[in-house]
Subunit: 248 residues, 6 copies
Amino acid sequence: MRLDGRQADELRPVTITLQPNKYAEGSVLIEFGDTKVLCTASIEERVPPFMKGQGKGWINAEYAMLPRATQVRNHRESAKGKLTGRTMEIQRLIGRSLRSVVDLQALGERTVTLDCDVLQADGGTRTTSITGAFVALALAVDKLNRNHAFAKYPITDFLASVSVGVIGERTLLDLNYEEDSKAKVDMNVVMTGARKFVEVQGTGEEAPFSRDELNTLLASAEEGIASLIAKQRDALGEKGSRIGTAVV
Amino acid sequence: MRLDGRQADELRPVTITLQPNKYAEGSVLIEFGDTKVLCTASIEERVPPFMKGQGKGWINAEYAMLPRATQVRNHRESAKGKLTGRTMEIQRLIGRSLRSVVDLQALGERTVTLDCDVLQADGGTRTTSITGAFVALALAVDKLNRNHAFAKYPITDFLASVSVGVIGERTLLDLNYEEDSKAKVDMNVVMTGARKFVEVQGTGEEAPFSRDELNTLLASAEEGIASLIAKQRDALGEKGSRIGTAVV
Amino acid sequence: MRLDGRQADELRPVTITLQPNKYAEGSVLIEFGDTKVLCTASIEERVPPFMKGQGKGWINAEYAMLPRATQVRNHRESAKGKLTGRTMEIQRLIGRSLRSVVDLQALGERTVTLDCDVLQADGGTRTTSITGAFVALALAVDKLNRNHAFAKYPITDFLASVSVGVIGERTLLDLNYEEDSKAKVDMNVVMTGARKFVEVQGTGEEAPFSRDELNTLLASAEEGIASLIAKQRDALGEKGSRIGTAVV
Amino acid sequence: MRLDGRQADELRPVTITLQPNKYAEGSVLIEFGDTKVLCTASIEERVPPFMKGQGKGWINAEYAMLPRATQVRNHRESAKGKLTGRTMEIQRLIGRSLRSVVDLQALGERTVTLDCDVLQADGGTRTTSITGAFVALALAVDKLNRNHAFAKYPITDFLASVSVGVIGERTLLDLNYEEDSKAKVDMNVVMTGARKFVEVQGTGEEAPFSRDELNTLLASAEEGIASLIAKQRDALGEKGSRIGTAVV
Amino acid sequence: MRLDGRQADELRPVTITLQPNKYAEGSVLIEFGDTKVLCTASIEERVPPFMKGQGKGWINAEYAMLPRATQVRNHRESAKGKLTGRTMEIQRLIGRSLRSVVDLQALGERTVTLDCDVLQADGGTRTTSITGAFVALALAVDKLNRNHAFAKYPITDFLASVSVGVIGERTLLDLNYEEDSKAKVDMNVVMTGARKFVEVQGTGEEAPFSRDELNTLLASAEEGIASLIAKQRDALGEKGSRIGTAVV
Amino acid sequence: MRLDGRQADELRPVTITLQPNKYAEGSVLIEFGDTKVLCTASIEERVPPFMKGQGKGWINAEYAMLPRATQVRNHRESAKGKLTGRTMEIQRLIGRSLRSVVDLQALGERTVTLDCDVLQADGGTRTTSITGAFVALALAVDKLNRNHAFAKYPITDFLASVSVGVIGERTLLDLNYEEDSKAKVDMNVVMTGARKFVEVQGTGEEAPFSRDELNTLLASAEEGIASLIAKQRDALGEKGSRIGTAVV
C-alpha cells in the first residue's frame, strides 16, 4: 500500500467544480487529491496573427503557480520578469493536447485561451491542468453552441491526462509530490475517449527503462485516464453530450 | 438604493475562510461580494539585505490578478515580463499598511511575505487584499507564538481597509466595479482598531473635492472599517486574542 | 524653528524659470529650496491607442532622477532595465493630477507629455514636479492657443502641490529630505486654484494618525498650495490669463 | 521510397568530425544529412549553487540556432531578449538525457556545459544535438581522465537519439524538415547502448495514435539509435573505450 | 619575428570558403588564422519602417560569438537577455561599413541582413567579419542580378578591414588575441578597393599616440587591406566582376 | 561663412560652470553652443569585481539624454527597458578616454563614475560630454587630494574632445546638429594636453575619404582641442594645477 493508503493503480480523489468564476465562458476548479487547479476558458473573436485568414480557430494555454502553491514559497515569474523553461514546457503541452481534440475549422475564427492556475500543488499539476482545462473548454464551446449552433460540433472527443511512475520495482498511478520526487521513471500520458494517445512523455533520468516497463506504465495510464474521462462525462452531463458526435 | 440593493453606507457581504491552503503559515480566502482574494502569509527566517543585522523583522507584500479575474481577460504580467505601475503601487500599499501594526523589533529577524492573489475582481481588490492579508498575517504570527511565545506580541492592533466614493451627489461605501468606474471621487482608507488612519488616498481626477466632502467620505470609511475589524475578530477568535495586548 | 530656519508653515524659497529648453513647447526649471526639477511639455498631434476616435486629448507624465540628484549616487533605471515602483507611482500621480484641470475635449486629439527630470533632490520631488509641470503645461497650451485660438480654453484651473508632515508633535509644511526621513506622518496634497483637493495621500507607516491630525495637516497644505499658485500666476503673467475662464 | 531516396527505416548520412574547436575540452561537428550542429563541451571546476557541497558534478546544456540555419531567416533570441519555449524545452531535454548516462558522484564537483549550436537545420536538430553532445562529452571526460584517472569512469553507457514519425500510413525514421512538417505523429526517442529508453516523447497533435502504432515507432527508433551508437563508437575509438566499464 | 613567426606587416593565413550554408542567398566561412567567422547574407523584399517609401534598400548587420568561441566559455547574450555594448558597437560598425559601398537606390526596396557568427575567436573578429560579410553580400547581390539584372550594379567598390597595433615600439598588422591584449595602441581600419577610408577607429587607452604613429599605422593597414581585397577578388572570381562598374 | 556665422575652424561659444550640483564630488555644466551637458563625478571607495585586489582604481562613465533634449521628443531608455547601441557606444568611449589620462595605480582602490546627462542637444554631445567629464573628474580628484594628498597625482594630463567633418568640400570644426546631418565624413577626436591622440574615430558612410583628407581633419581637430584645453585650464584654475606634474 502507498503512503496515502492507495492501491498502485488507484487515482487520488478527483473533484470537479463547474463555473467557480463568474466572468469566464467556461471555468472549472479541479482537484486531484491536494493538487488544486483553477482552469478558465476565455473566448476572443479573433485569432493570432499567424492564423489569420485561414477560416480556422486556435486554442492557446497558459499555466502558472501561485507563490505559495508549494511547500516552500516560490518566486513569482512576473517579478522575475520571465517564464521558466518548466512553465513554457507545460503550457505548450496543454495547448497541443487540447488542439488534438478540436476541429479548428469547425470552431471558426476565434481563440479559446485556457488559463490553468495552480492554487495548491501536490504533484501532477500538468495532468490535473489538462484534465480540468478540457472541461473548461467543453463548457465554453457548449455556451457558444447555445448562442448559435455549430454546423459541426468542434470538440471531437474527450481528453484527459495522468502521470505514472516507477518507484522501487512498482508501477504507480497518479503520483503525488512525495512519490514523484522518488520516482526513477516518470511518465505523463494524454489520451482521448477513444483510447488513442495524444502525448506520451516518459523520462528515465534516474534509470533508463525497457520496452516492457514502458508497456506496463502505459497500461496503467490507460485505465487511469479512462476513469478520469468517466468523471468528466459525469461532471459535464448534458453539456458534454455533443462531444465527438461528428466524424472529423 | 444602489444597483445591488445596498444602502449608501452598507458593506457588501464579507466572507473570511481560514486556512484554505495546506502549506502556508497563514492563509485566508476573503470575499467582499464578488471580489475574491486568496491571501497567504509565508515566513522565512531571514530578512532582506537592507534590514540585516538590525535585530528586526520585515513585512513584504505581493499582489497579482489571475488573467480571468476580470470581465475581459487581462494579460499575465509574467508573460509581459514586467509588473504594471498599478500592481507595484498596490503591493507597496499593502506592505506599508501591514507594517504600521507590526512591531518589527518584537517580530525578530524574520520576513513575513503576504501574497494577495485576486481570483475574481469586482472592485475594491486592494482594500479586500489588505483586510484579508491582515488575517493571514495574524494566523502566521499566532502559529509562531504557539511554537515559541513572543516576549512582546508583534501585532499591535487590528487593521482593515475599505473604499469610499462619490457618485452623483452621494457618498457610497465599498464600491463595486460598476460603481467605481462611475465615481467622480475615489478614496481608499486603511485604519486600525483604535480608529487611527494608516493610509488615506483620495483622488478626484474627474472632479476635485472640498474639505467637507473629504470629511463625509472619511466618516463613512471609518464606520465601514470598524465593521470589517469586528468580522476579523470573529473569524480569528482565540487566535486574535493577543493582538494589541502590549504597548508599542 | 526648523533646521533651515523656517517657520513650521513656511515654504522653502521657490524659483520658477521659464523656457530653459529651446525645443519644448513648454519648459520650466522649478526649485523648492535645493530640490530642482526640469519640466518640459511636449505636444504630439495624436493620442494613445486607447483614446483614439473619441475627439479628446490626453495628458501623460514621466518622472526620473539623474543618478547624482541624490546624496549617494543611485543607479539609472535605464541600466537596470526597469522602472521602480516608486517612479511608476509618481508618474501616475503627476499625470492624474494634471488631467484633473484639463478639459480633454477642449484640448482636441493631441497628447501633451510632461517630463519631470529631477536634477537635484532634497525632499518633495513629486510635489515640486507637479507644481512645475503645471506651468510647463500652461506654456504649451498658451503656445497652441496663439497659433489657433481654442473655442474653449482647455485648462480649467491652476494646480499645485505640497507636502506636509508630522515630526515629533509638530506639523511642518514642505519637508526637506532630512525632515522627510524623520516624519511619522507624511502627506502629499494636490489642490486647485479654487481650493479643491485633487489628491490627498497620507501615510502613517510609523504612527497612525487621528482625524484631527489629518485636518491640521490639510489646513497647512491648503495655505502652502495657495501661496504656490500665487507664484505660478506671477511667473506665467499674461500667458496664464485665460486659465479657468471657461466653465467646465 | 522517400523524397531523398531513403528507405523508411534508413538514417540520413551521418558525419562526426572530432575537435573542430581549438579551445573546448571536447568538440564535435555532427551532421544528420543537411542538419549540422556544432557541439562543444566546456568544463568548469565548480557546480551551480543548488548542487554545492554534495560532492557531485553537474551536466548542463544550452541550445541555439544561427539566424540563417533555417530557410527563412529567424530572429536572434539575444536581440529579442528572451529564449523561446521551444529552445528551453530542447536544452532541458539535452541536459536531462546526458545526465542519465553520467555518474555525477564519479564526475566529482565540476560542471560540464554542452553547447549545441545549429549551423544549418533540416529537421531533427534536437536528436542530432543529443547524439553529438554525447560525443563531445565523451571527449571532455576522456581528457579529464588522461590528466588524472577517475577511480570510477563517470560515463556509464553510450547514448544517442533519433526521430520517428508517421506520414500517411508509413512509419519513417529520422525525418527531415519536409517530412517533419507533414507528419501526423512525431516522436523523439533517446536510448542507451544497453537499449534502454531515457526519453520517449511522442505527440499526435494532428492525429492521436494507438498502442500498436507506438510500438512500431519505438521499434524503428531502437534500430536507428543502435546504428547511431555504432557510429559514435567508431568516431571515438580508443577515447570511448572506458565508457560503461563500471557498474553504476 | 612575432610569436607565430610572422613579419610585422604580414597577415595571418586567410581562407575564404564560399556558400557553406545551403539556404542563405550568400554565405562565407572566413578565417584569419584561428579566427573563424560564418557570414550569411539574407535578402528580404522589404525595408525597415524608417526607410519605407523612399525607393531605397537597406543593409543591416548582426554579430555574435558562440559561447565556446573563446578560451574561457562566455555566457550567451540570449540567456542574459541583452546584448553587450561591445556586440552593439561591432554590429553597428559592420552595417555602416558595408553601406558605404552600396548604392541603396540601385539596390531597390529590399534589405540585406549580414549575420556574422564567430565560431572561433583569436583576435580581429570585427575585421574578419567585415571582410567576410562583404563577400557574402557580393554573392547575394550577384544572385539577385542573375534573376533580374540591375540597371546599375548596387555594389560600388570592394571593401575589407584589418587591425593594426603598437606593441612595445613596433607596429604590427592583423593582431591575434595574445598580441591584441598587449597592444598599447589598437586600430581598426576599413578601406575600399580605391584605397579610400570608410572607418578609422584608433584607441590609445594605454598610451596616447602621435600623428606620426597614426600615419605609420594607417600605412600598414592600407597594405594589409589591399592584400585582403585581392583575396576577395580571387574568391569571388566572375561573381565579383560587376562590382564598381558603375559610377556612384 | 557657416549658417551660425562661424569660420570653418571656429568652435561654438564654450561655457563651463563649476559645481552646479551640491552632492557630487565634482560637477560641471558644460555648453558647446546650444548643446548642454550636466557632468557629475561620483566617488565610491570600492572597485568593480573584475578589478578587485589589484590595488588600482577604476573610471566608469554613463551617458543619457533627457527626452526633450532633442527637437522631437525621444523615448526614455528606462521605459523601453534597454540602452540603445548608440548610448552604449558613447559611454564606453567616455570611460576609455578618461582612463587614458588617469594613473589607476595612483588613484588607489576607488571608482569614479562620470555621469553625462544631456539637457539639450545640438550636435557634438559626445565630445561635449568628454570635455566636461574631464573637468568634473579633475574637481573630484582635487577634492580627494585636499583631504589626503596623493603621493603621485592620479591625473596625468588634460583631455578634451571635438568633432570635425566634411560638408561639401569644406572641413568644418565642431559641427552643430544641422551640419552633422549633412556631413559626408564625420570624425570625433580625443586628445591630451601633450597633443597626443587618445581616440580617432572617423566615418565616411556617405563618402569614403583619402589619407590627405584625414590629415586635414586631424589638423583642424588638434587646434580645436588645444583651445578647449585652454578653457578647461582657465575654469579649473588652482584646482587643475597639479595635473600632469608626475611622469607616468
